[in-house]
């Protein structure tokens, strides 16, 4: 297990460099948008990674609510934090692309708004964890994650009522994409997934260590209190 970590690290580095080459050099330039379009490989890969992590967060939260499993909660913390970082990347790269292509930085379109609301919900999720004083932080956070998951479809549905400006999804949305572009996108997504997994893994180990230290400290203070009496 210990040895797998550096191997995964090297693999991630290789994939990320290959992905960079694919995105900037190998993939053909888009006809109308030009080179700006290349941000797509990072934007979309980050979006998929973030949504995947938030889904894992939701599943882990539900498992925690049902079984109070001691593994589910650290998984939920880790996926929320790393997912929020990827979601931030999506929200930053989106406007950078939108300004030259649409002529505006931001619009209240269905995908943009849902992503922003998702981002806001997970910021409040992490704030709750940070500010919570009770030993029941995992429980309260899991409840909030469930509320957030109920909220996102409602946001999506409410904005969907207006016409949407965001390009239709290239996969399963009826759009067509050059196979070399698709290749670059998938390589980048794979690289991002490896990277996300790597960060989640080390963050998970850190979280477990932190909990262990907390446990030992509380045991120690109990022991000392007994000795002083």
């Amino acid at each position: 297990m210990k040895r797998a970590f550096p191997i995964l690290g090297v693999l991630t580095a290789v994939l990320l460099s290959y992905g960079l080459y694919e995105a900037l050099v190998a993939a053909p330039t888009e006809q109308t948008m030009g080179d700006v379009q290349r941000i797509f490989y990072y934007h979309v890969s980050s979006a998929w990674t973030a949504f995947l992590l938030f889904t894992i967060n939701f599943v882990a939260s539900v498992i925690y609510l049902i079984r109070r499993s001691p593994v589910a909660d650290p998984v939920a913390v880790v996926t929320a934090e790393v997912g929020l970082v990827f979601c931030t990347v999506v929200l930053v790269t989106g406007p950078i692309w939108a300004r030259p292509v649409w002529g505006i930085w931001w619009t209240w379109d269905v995908r943009l708004t849902s992503t922003l609301v998702l981002w806001l919900i997970y910021v409040s999720y992490l704030m709750l964890r940070r500010f919570s004083t009770s030993g029941q932080t995992p429980l309260l956070a899991a409840v909030l994650a469930v509320f957030g998951a109920l909220d996102v479809p409602l946001v999506y549905f409410s904005i969907w009522f207006f016409r949407t400006q965001h390009p239709q999804p290239v996969i399963g949305g009826g759009g067509s994409i050059d196979s070399r572009m698709m290749h670059a996108l998938l390589i980048n997504w794979l690289a991002f997934l490896c990277f996300a997994f790597l960060v989640c893994w080390s963050r998970y180990r850190l979280e477990m260590l932190r909990r262990e230290v907390e446990e030992i400290q509380s045991q120690k203070s109990m022991f000392e209190a007994r000795g002083a009496r």
Partner: protein, 225 residues
Amino acid sequence: MSLISNITAATLAKDIRLEWRSKDAINSMLFFGLLVVVVFSFSFDPIAEESRRIAGGLVWVAFLFAAVVALNQTWAREVRNQVLDAYRVSPAPANSLFLAKALGNFLFVIVLEALMTPLFIVFYKLRALGPAWMLIPIAVLGTWALVVNGSFFAAMSLRTRAREIMLPLLLFPISLPAILAMVRATTAILTADEPAKFWIVLLVAYDVVFTTACLLLFETVLQAE
């Protein structure tokens, strides 16, 4: 079922009596709401045509902020004398307590809205071009959407530092679709540009989804200590 309704009625009657005698929540909400109306009014000073377009947003932002004032006080009385601890060990169903609190807050915020609406009409020269009676179901559904989650998150933020700040931080992101629906529906009625039906349906869906979620999860949150 009758046990739930009895306890709900008793808790609600107690809260209303306490509020009637102290008038803490309603006074602070009213004054706060009044301040928001005045500040918005003289910072924009809109003509009748403009105010029709922006009033939906202003009204609901004012009500939202004022409601947070009341919501923050929801559980304060119960915490002070360990009433909540007594409630935890009693066999009374948790949801009856939650319903009483949510209904109490609903009542306070509705009273606030009834008193503030004339002020808005005066300051913003409002006259609805659409069917004005439709504003009543919108207000009822919208207020319930705010207070049901508000009462729930107020209970959650009891166990946090800086709990008065925590409540809006938890409540606002989740309430975004409801706020959008209330504002859009109100604007639709005031300007008569588009039908408000979709937004009312959305509010109903929001209310049903989150009332169910609150009732299912409140016991878990109440027992978390």
